[in-house]
Symmetry: C2
Subunit: 205 residues, 2 copies
DNA sequence: CCCAGTATCATCCGAATGGATGATAACGTC
DNA sequence: GACGTTATCATCCATTCGGATGATACTGGG
């Protein structure tokens, strides 16, 4: 009877998976807030409610924990593969995602700022060749004006979509909204939709 | 004769001002690259070519040096007061500035990411009420479409203009250019000009 | 009921870092 | 040319942090 679980799986005192998740959650919060160098393993362990040695036990140390975090997010990010949506909706989706996964986005942006050439671990992050090809296709279909360079357009839109993460103080000052709130996400997404709509070939200057 | 300078001001061995500047320069590079927590005072001193104790001597320690850096940049940033330029040129100017003062921008973005509520030291940074009023004026004059919210527009454009700093890896991958190069600045500024041009009231959807 | 395995914890340790202390030498002045 | 000032430096110290070690207790199975 391998399936016979212990009487109370959910609240037993020793649970490796629960501990791992707790550590990952706490680490995400701490790393996102203080950065890779500023984060303290003792704080992470404290926040997770476990002994700090468990970080070494499960992840082999601070760096291992960080890597596990980045690793786990690389899978999460391929959820925007729905190329059939209008371009404005894709951008709006980026906005929503950056607000919903705020801490991950913050972590990611810190990684970008550090600008360490990733040790050849795939095509890294952000838009790539596929997205550029997609924009070119949309240009030919007239959804995007032909005089815009796909590379720079994607760059600008990705940066703009991340504004809630990269400029939270400006969000509060300019809009009076909480950059982590759904209201900000909704209204900002709508505004970016309008901007993107004006980039179509039909919208002539 | 208080004006009598020593025979060789430029290459004398003890020069407080020169040392201060060297420390500030080195600190800018180090803080921008590694962040407030990751930066090492010994590295800064080494890069400046002076003893690390001089950091305490002149700035009262690591934090004081950082504060002096931020302080000195708050003055430098009010150089975009030329409200008479077309909006597209203002945005292009932001792009150029973020590339030319790359390290300052990087430092600034790190500060934003940390998102520590500034201890009431003025209206902080980035666009403020004045810029919003300016956008509203331009809307009334038809330079900017009326259905765009000035707050979100400024937010999106500031974030977009900073893309070379916030997403250097994407710049390389998408455009193949060096995000610190003048060529990137020029071409990206031109692309943002075209985007902004399409946001005018005349460019109807 | 006991045992092996492992998840968890308390404690300790070496390394690194930021800052303090006192010595030193260059500079301006009389 | 001698002296007080101060810019500069070599060295030391306290603290902090990450990680290692060994002890402990919970778990499931025989």
């Amino acid at each position: 009877m391998r399936l016979r679980r212990s009487p109370a799986v959910h609240d037993r005192q020793r649970d490796a998976d629960r501990t791992r998740r707790a550590l990952l959650d706490a680490a995400l919060a701490e790393f996102a807030a203080k950065g890779r160098a500023g984060a303290r393993v003792s704080v992470i362990a404290e926040r997770a409610g476990v002994n700090k040695q468990l970080i070494s036990y499960y992840f082999g140390g601070k760096d291992g924990l960080y890597r596990a975090l980045v690793e786990g997010w690389r899978q999460h990010e391929d959820e925007f593969a729905s190329r059939d949506l209008p371009f404005a909706e894709i951008v709006a989706g980026y906005v929503r995602s950056s607000v919903e996964h705020r801490e991950m986005s913050r972590l990611f942006l810190r990684e970008c700022l550090d600008d360490v050439p990733p040790p050849e671990q795939g095509p890294s992050v952000g838009p790539g060749e596929a997205e550029m090809a997609d924009v070119r296709r949309r240009q030919q279909q007239g959804e995007i004006a032909a005089d815009l360079d796909p590379a720079f357009l994607l760059l600008a839109l990705q940066a703009a979509a991340s504004a809630g993460v990269s400029f939270p103080a400006d969000v509060r000052m300019l809009t009076g909204l909480d950059p982590a709130s759904a209201e900000f996400a909704d209204r900002y997404a709508e505004q970016l939709r309008r901007i993107v709509a004006r980039l179509s070939a039909q919208a002539e200057v």
